[in-house]
Symmetry: C2
Subunit: 246 residues, 2 copies
């Protein structure tokens, strides 16, 4: 691991409050690794040997069933993924592949499990992290069940605008193909939906998004604190898609 990696990790809420000695112990058994783009790092069903920390790049979490596949989340630096599987010492529920060249730190799950029994501050941090992640997936499930795909697209575009600082022009953080899967629709359907949304106050040209009539778009998206907000404590990543699941 590079010396400049440590402060970045230490800055995460998950590791911020634990004792320095325990942090160092945990890190001493961890190691960093670089992956090329498009590489599968984790396969669903595999035993959860490591907590993953993304330091650079981007990771897609996706799920498969019966020859179908869908994107569940995109994880950006600096944040962690598959914490819940490591805690429970259970198989990963999702696979993970790199979207770009990505630098990852791998923390042995067994050390993690041993550590939170010894360091109260660490266990409190894990509790907060899990609770926030839990609520995040509930929001996502609500969105899937309560909104149509058109409403999900509108909400997404609006939320992204907020994350970009409230500007009415920004660029999409991921390929449309991936975005479609994340939102639970086909690329063709997303493409058509974006076209139709031009009548509702937003124009998308390539990766460029321009909100032309925020009031109109808002009326369609009906943003809701209980669906679209993110738990602030956890959202320290500037992550463009709702944070790491699992």
């Amino acid at each position: 691991m590079r010396p400049e990696d440590l402060p970045e990790i230490r800055h995460l809420h998950l590791f911020r409050d634990m004792s320095q000695a325990n942090f160092e112990t945990l890190m001493s058994s961890s190691y960093a690794q670089n992956f090329p783009p498009g590489l599968d790092m984790v396969r669903q069903g595999d035993p959860s040997d490591f907590l993953h920390i993304v330091l650079e790049g981007a990771v897609e979490l996706y799920a498969k069933w019966a020859d179908r596949e869908c994107t569940m989340a995109v994880v950006r630096p600096v944040s962690t993924f598959i914490l819940a599987a490591c805690i429970r010492d259970a198989p990963y529920l999702m696979s993970a592949r790199t979207l770009e060249r990505t630098r990852i730190v791998l923390v042995p799950a067994s050390d993690l499990r041993a550590m939170f029994r010894r360091d109260t501050e660490f266990s409190v941090a894990i509790i907060n992290e899990l609770a926030a992640g839990y609520r995040s997936v509930v929001r996502s499930a609500k969105s899937l069940k309560l909104r149509t795909s058109r409403e999900r697209v509108a909400s997404f575009l609006l939320t992204q605008s907020m994350l970009a600082g409230g500007t009415s022009s920004y660029t999409l953080p991921v390929e449309k193909r991936l975005l479609a899967s994340y939102l639970g629709m086909t690329p063709e359907n997303l493409s058509r939906t974006l076209r139709l949304l031009e009548a509702d106050g937003v124009k998308v040209d390539g990766a460029r998004v321009i909100i032309t009539d925020r009031a109109k778009l808002t009326a369609l998206a009906k943003p809701d604190k209980l669906i679209d907000a993110s738990e602030t404590a956890i959202d320290q990543t500037g992550s463009s898609l709702p944070r790491a699941l699992e």
Copy 2:
């Protein structure tokens, strides 16, 4: 609270391992309450003042958005709900209403938050509970995104059969109307789907389910350990629907 309530609660994984003194402290500030059927106990958006423990009856967790509503889970005795909201001291993401006459114990969220900083065994139990719940919602999200409604119905019927002990005949645990909402479809569509599934090895007459050709039904449902299984540690309820979310 009745004296016979305590052992039931103590038996939950969440409270099993904490010290007796701490358990008693937590319970001394808690109180039980009985609710008639069809009563709203929790409204989404309200501040999370209490962890809820279901001792008798049944509770539906549901979510609303823009005049639409959907069932997220049904909680049966003995188990808890809205743990994550209490932990984070954040608004409930879901509402809760009783399906039957229901007996609930209310644990003040502030006491809960204070306690897990003091009792390591309790914090470990919370970590396990949250991680299991987290994974449970991820499974649910995978099911929604990867399966068609027909496949979800088939999986549900098959999973229920397993929970009933592998028998090929059992009764539905909830009204079809609620089941439809839980599975993300309309009652009409569920009704039609059940009819069509008679060609795939299962017959539903009223609340009675009879699996007539398990192999055929299994081929359609393609049960998957990474979607349909439940974390055993948490599934001590005999719950008929996947356990409490949130």
